[in-house]
Symmetry: C2
Subunit: 225 residues, 2 copies
């Protein structure tokens, strides 16, 4: 029986968390869960599967058809264009799916409960939090309390990146030996490979690697194919 379940999206942060969990809990003690919630960019699911396989971590893919039924956001709805800037009315980017991380963590908690794992690991960070209120420490703490009470289960949510800058996270990935895995990650909001380099997600990623003084293995992969 494993100890820790990592929410693995196929992005840079969750991949770094997977390697953090392997370091913290030990090889053979870690599993991953990935959500197929109708994301426009199916490449994320391919990336997550490849990363789990390379790390020899068992991966469960859970479907969530509810966000697509709710509609109205740029991450699942092909009719909506990703905006670089925030909506002036809500002050949130239009990639915001209300409560998305709360849903992911609650389903992950249900899976952890069934399998007897007491640690959840998620790559949310409030430092670079990009306008997503469900990534903040206070939100995660309130959710942890709701999950502990609602499941009567001594679950802990680990957020190893919570107060790290993107540059800190890149250096942490290097220290954990996770840089090769980052070549398999997906970040671009426009869902293209090589990454577009212009969307907010690509720019934030590039800035983090630049500040860390480390070359992005994903960019290198397309530069030297």
């Amino acid at each position: 029986m494993s100890q820790a379940l990592v929410v693995l999206s196929g992005g840079q942060d969750s991949t770094t968390c997977l390697y953090w969990a392997l370091h913290r809990f030990g090889v053979g003690q870690v599993e991953a869960v990935t959500f197929d919630y109708g994301q426009r960019h199916r490449i994320e699911l391919d990336c997550a599967a490849r990363i789990a396989t390379h790390a020899s971590v068992p991966q469960t893919v859970l479907p969530i058809d509810t966000f697509a039924a709710l509609g109205g956001n740029a991450l699942t709805d092909a009719g909506i264009t990703v905006q670089a800037d925030m909506d002036t009315q809500t002050r949130l980017p239009n990639t915001f799916v209300p409560g998305r991380n709360l849903i992911f963590l609650t389903f992950a908690a249900a899976l952890a409960y069934q399998r007897g794992m007491c640690a959840l690991v998620t790559g949310v960070a409030q430092t670079d939090y990009s306008g997503y209120p469900d990534c903040r420490q206070a939100t995660i703490q309130a959710l942890e309390q709701a999950l502990r009470l609602g499941m009567e289960y001594a679950l802990t949510i680990h957020t190893p990146l919570m107060f790290k800058s993107k540059a800190d996270t890149v250096q942490m990935a290097r220290d954990l030996g996770a840089l090769p895995a980052l070549a398999d990650t997906h970040t671009c909001y426009n869902g293209v490979q090589p990454p577009c380099g212009r969307c907010p997600a690509c720019r934030l990623r590039a800035q983090g690697f630049a500040e860390a003084g480390i070359a992005d293995p994903l960019v290198e992969r397309f530069r030297n194919p």
Copy 2:
């Protein structure tokens, strides 16, 4: 724009809450959301639709395919028999879906956010709470906090039945003029009509009506067809 969103399962408690909300927020101010999560007893969905129609309340049905993928509980898995008693190991009934109410309320909150409604209404009660820890006041308060923080939205979760006995709830339904609607509700864990009368849910319902001194309109419907 409506003010309140009621989580309507098609059962006695959520139906009573629908009429409570109509009384509290006013006709034309209330909507309902029902979750199609792969429940074995599809009759619940028919009941919820009929109740919403009779109350002239707009109803949104949202699919959730994740619980069936998680598997392993008697409410969605036809291979598992409903137990009358609790599991001796977990001290929870085997109808327990870990975190089910947390998921329902979080998706309901996302819908409320999109539609500009600030009140969620749910029929959970800790008095008769039957072993479900996600129905307790402390759980709901922690979740409300997580939702407010995670969505940056001034949402309130109303739980008008939280401290009521089943008998109190029956009397409240009578006072709200909701008794005719209760003839359309579904309670039986065995999914049959007329209700089996033997499962824990049927017994709890019958006890509530008996203690309230009121005839169950659902039972009356089958006695005098």
